[in-house]
Amino acid sequence: MFGMLSPILKNGFGKPATRLYPFEKREAFDKARGQLEIDIDKCIFCGMCQRKCPSTCLNVEKAASKWELDPYNCVICGVCVEACPTKCLSLNKVYRTPVYVKENQIKIGKPPVKKTAAKENA
């Protein structure tokens, strides 16, 4: 009978358990996995991320120096980040917000300068 008393008092006078989400936002954890980001200038379009991705959400075209992500297919595992040889991919802490229309993220970068060509110029 008295066992109930402590939870009643706690729930009656304590702070509510609810996080008042849209008004009070909680800070993300250090390790939180949010969205995939790319620093397109560093990308060499090797296609390693595309080969390692378990959900086939990446498409890299070397000829057009295009990097394409389908964020609605991405499962945010972070394998591509580990696989990237130039460390141009990263995961930020902010989760992706919902949308009305699905759109692929397309980034066009500079075509990588060929080493042999650079030597010839020099």
Binding site: Q50, T56, N59
Partner: protein, 142 residues
């Protein structure tokens, strides 16, 4: 050879005719049925039945040609019923004497897709194809 986490399982080679009797023997010895697996080859199936007693496992292994009927062990172990029906669905095996026969329609019914053979023939799998497929549907919608 099949491995358990810590040790190798004892394995018995058998045939389709002897399967029921062998299973009965294991059941009398206090074994329970764990799982039946199917490995598909060109023109035959390799079936593996796992039985367990305490922390030991025993394997019955047999090879049957495609299209042959296999005696169901579900009259002895009721729990073989689901897995045998699943194998009927996914591999087109035929079992004789199933307790409840879903007729190859446990997962997929008449008007639905058929499970592809394990060789994955007829499945659009390559990356390029998938991206083209997406582009096609986008065009149609647009």
């Amino acid at each position: 050879m099949l491995h358990n986490q810590t040790k190798e399982t004892n394995e018995v080679q058998t045939t389709a005719d002897k399967l029921f009797a062998e299973t009965q023997k294991l059941a009398d010895n206090g074994y329970r049925f764990i799982i039946a697996d199917v490995f598909e080859a060109e023109d035959n199936f390799e079936l593996i039945y796992q039985f367990g007693k305490d922390y030991d496992a025993t394997t019955l292994r047999l090879t049957v040609p495609k299209g042959a009927e296999i005696p169901s062990i579900s009259p002895i172990f009721f729990n073989a019923l689901l897995i045998e029906n699943e194998n009927q669905d996914l591999y087109g095996l035929k079992y004789k004497g199933l307790v409840v026969d879903f007729g190859g329609r446990l997962y997929m019914s008449q008007d639905e897709v058929e499970a592809p053979p394990q060789s994955m023939a007829g499945m659009n799998v390559s990356l390029v194809k998938k991206w083209n497929k997406k582009a096609d549907t986008a065009k149609k919608e647009g």
